[in-house]
């Protein structure tokens, strides 16, 4: 069971859907990659002037305090750049674990899936 350590630091793809940026996180996210994403996103929001960011984490099987902090910081940064962030698709096991961990991400808007996140962003303009 000792396969080589899987290292695939492919950057996380960021999709522009009209006025909204959609980021879909999948599987293992290295710390470095998460920080890279944080920078990329800030840059994209600032240069494109989008009004919303949707981060889809339905493919993520753990969120620890590091990734939690990165997500919260993305949302805060986006807010400063006049964009709203919605965290979509958190799995039940991840939600239970985050609550036990004591990480309830108070400043983040959440949605059940990407569709709902889009709905949230279109309903309440700033």
């Amino acid at each position: 069971m000792n396969e080589p350590v899987p290292v695939h630091p492919a950057p996380v793809p960021v999709l522009a859907l009209g006025d909204i940026l959609l980021v879909s996180l999948q599987g293992e996210l290295h710390d470095g990659l998460a920080e890279q994403l944080q920078q990329d996103l800030s840059h994209r929001i600032a240069t494109t002037g989008v009004s919303g960011v949707v981060i889809d984490i339905s493919g993520v099987d753990i969120v620890d305090s590091f990734l939690g902090r990165v997500l919260a910081e993305i949302a805060s940064t986006a807010r400063l750049l006049a964009a709203r962030t919605v965290l979509a698709g958190m799995r039940p096991a991840v939600a239970i674990t985050l609550v036990e961990l004591g990480l309830v991400l108070p400043g983040l808007t959440t949605a059940l899936d990407v569709d709902r996140a889009m709905e949230v962003l279109s309903q309440r303009g700033r």
Binding site: V5, H30, D31, G32, I62, S65, L101
Partner: protein, 149 residues
């Protein structure tokens, strides 16, 4: 550390980089799944491992993790030890407090990880290093069922 006889052997994983953290998480997930931990417990264990391994990396300057399957005759369990030979923790009580941080995180590393497992202990000596050990046992809670058609 010697394992008592009759136990499956431990898997030792180095903790020296980001990629190692990912490897620790994968090993813990595999081991927990093989032992019959449910999805929620697996997620808690992997998250705790991630927190503790990051502590080892960031505060202990790296070290190693030891993942050991347990069987006490009644239940199966998993023990994870995170060992570093870094500066140690000067004020353990403070370090165990929610929100306390000396790194860049949210200060939930030790205190948060402790809430995700059943047994938790920290051995530390200033200048000598720190070993954090966490144990969880498979709890027999029925798989959740919503009862909806």
């Amino acid at each position: 550390m010697m394992q008592p006889s009759g136990q499956a052997s431990a898997t030792t994983v180095p903790v020296g980089s980001d990629a190692d953290l990912a490897w620790v998480r994968q090993q813990v997930r595999q081991c927990a799944a093989a032992l019959g931990f449910g999805l929620v417990q697996q997620t808690k264990l992997v998250t705790a491992a991630s927190e503790l391994a990051r502590n080892t990396l960031v505060h202990g300057g790296g070290g190693h993790a030891e993942i050991t399957p347990l069987d006490n005759g009644h239940a199966r369990g998993l023990r994870m030890s995170f060992v570093d030979s870094g500066p140690g923790i000067r004020d353990l009580e403070l370090a165990m407090t929610d929100g306390y941080t000396s790194g860049g995180g949210l200060g939930l590393g030790l205190s948060g990880a402790r809430r995700l497992v059943q047994e938790f202990s920290v051995e530390t000596e200033p200048g000598r290093g720190t070993t954090v050990t966490a144990v969880a046992w498979v709890t027999q809670v029925p798989a959740s069922r919503s009862g909806l058609g």
